[in-house]
């Protein structure tokens, strides 16, 4: 389930770009409307890198380790970084 909610981080660049842009847009709209205090444009890159280092890559590695899936885990791990 956790892997599925971040599916776009473990797929080819074009998929990541689409959903990452949407994520940014959603956060920027919330900031523009005064619902969020922090401007996502100032911290976006750092937060994305942190997200990959501490969440997506460990998750992809765990998925590979559990050895329950045929074929897909190598592909997901190679796409995650």
């Amino acid at each position: 389930m956790q892997v599925s909610t971040v599916f776009y981080t473990m797929q080819p660049w074009i998929v990541y770009e689409k959903w990452c842009s949407r994520d940014f847009e959603e956060k920027y709209i919330a900031f523009s409307n005064g619902r969020v205090q922090e401007d996502p444009a100032l911290t976006w890159l750092d937060k994305e890198l942190e997200f990959f280092d501490n969440w997506c890559i460990p998750l992809a590695m765990q998925l590979k380790d559990c050895d329950a899936f045929v074929v897909s885990t190598d592909e997901q791990l190679s796409c995650a970084p």
Binding site: R22, D23, I57, A68
Partner: protein
């Protein structure tokens, strides 16, 4: 979802279970205490271990869903789809993508390393039905054990995929911490934990329990035990999407290490987060 629901029903028929005449019910939740803080919230229902049925190989019979069930399944998904807002990220398209990804992942569950003797016996198998049954019967226990029973329980798979679809219902486009600041009353209602996830689950569950989905519910679970399992799978799955709750995440990662005996690569980071939170 239709395919999985057919499997749920077929499995039930194969196991000799019958549909209920009197609907099973669970103890009610969300009774308010003084001050408007609920006694028990969905967050409290998260458990470490979900009991799945033991292994018993029975070839499922072919079956079809009735017209009413198919219609209600379609109506339920339409209703949930309408409850999604037009956010750029947390929208219906995202929910569909997450659900599709999870369905595909479940279809890719398999055993890579089957013991040599079984491989040899596979080679000598012919393709008639009795021998196919034997082959599937040989592989099924491996898959069952390898996946802790998930592959042999269509109800769990149905619950997982449904949870993927409903996990961001009514998402308003801001995170839990921002939502707490924006709407303290709502936050109190869910005891300041996984607000978005609890609300999504609650709305989707409430919808499913409406009288107009009677036949659909009848197809999903046949007794209280199945109802409990179905709800538990959904609660655990939906709440697992709250990645900011380090306490829950620490529990999950520790459980992963215990169950699969493999490295949890983010546990040190979680440990740090947890200690920082405890220190606050």
């Amino acid at each position: 979802m239709h395919r999985l629901l057919v499997q749920v029903v077929a499995r039930r028929i194969a196991m000799g279970k019958e549909e209920w005449d009197e609907e099973p019910v669970l103890p009610s939740h969300g009774e308010a205490e003084e001050g408007g803080v609920p006694k028990k919230v969905i967050f409290d229902e998260v458990v470490d271990v979900i009991d799945l049925p033991g292994f018993s190989f029975k070839r499922s019979t072919n079956c079809e869903l009735s017209y009413h069930v198919t219609n209600q399944l379609r109506a339920y998904f339409t209703a949930v789809a309408k409850a999604y807002h037009g956010n750029p990220m947390h929208c219906l398209q995202y929910a569909s993508a997450v659900m599709t990804h999870l369905s595909k992942l479940l279809l890719r569950v398999g055993v890579k390393h089957i013991e040599q003797e079984e491989n040899n016996s596979d080679d000598s198998c012919n393709s008639n039905d009795d021998e196919d049954d034997e082959l599937v019967g040989d592989l099924a226990p491996h898959l069952h054990n390898h996946t802790f029973g998930i592959t042999s329980d269509p109800l769990t798979q149905f619950g997982l995929v449904l949870a993927a679809f409903i996990h961001a219902v009514d998402h308003t486009g801001i995170s839990n911490s921002d939502l707490t600041r924006e709407d303290p009353e709502l936050s109190t209602q869910y005891r300041d934990n996984s607000i978005i996830e609890q609300r999504s689950f609650e709305k989707a569950w409430k919808k499913l329990m409406e009288p107009s989905f009677y036949d659909l519910r009848r197809a999903i679970y046949s007794d209280e035990e199945e109802l409990k399992r179905f709800r538990q799978v959904m609660v655990n799955s939906v709440l697992s999407t709250d990645v900011d709750n380090s306490e829950l995440q620490y529990m999950r990662t520790a459980r992963w290490v215990k169950a699969l005996n493999t490295g949890a690569y983010n546990i040190s980071k979680l440990d740090i987060n947890r200690k920082v939170e405890c220190a606050k």
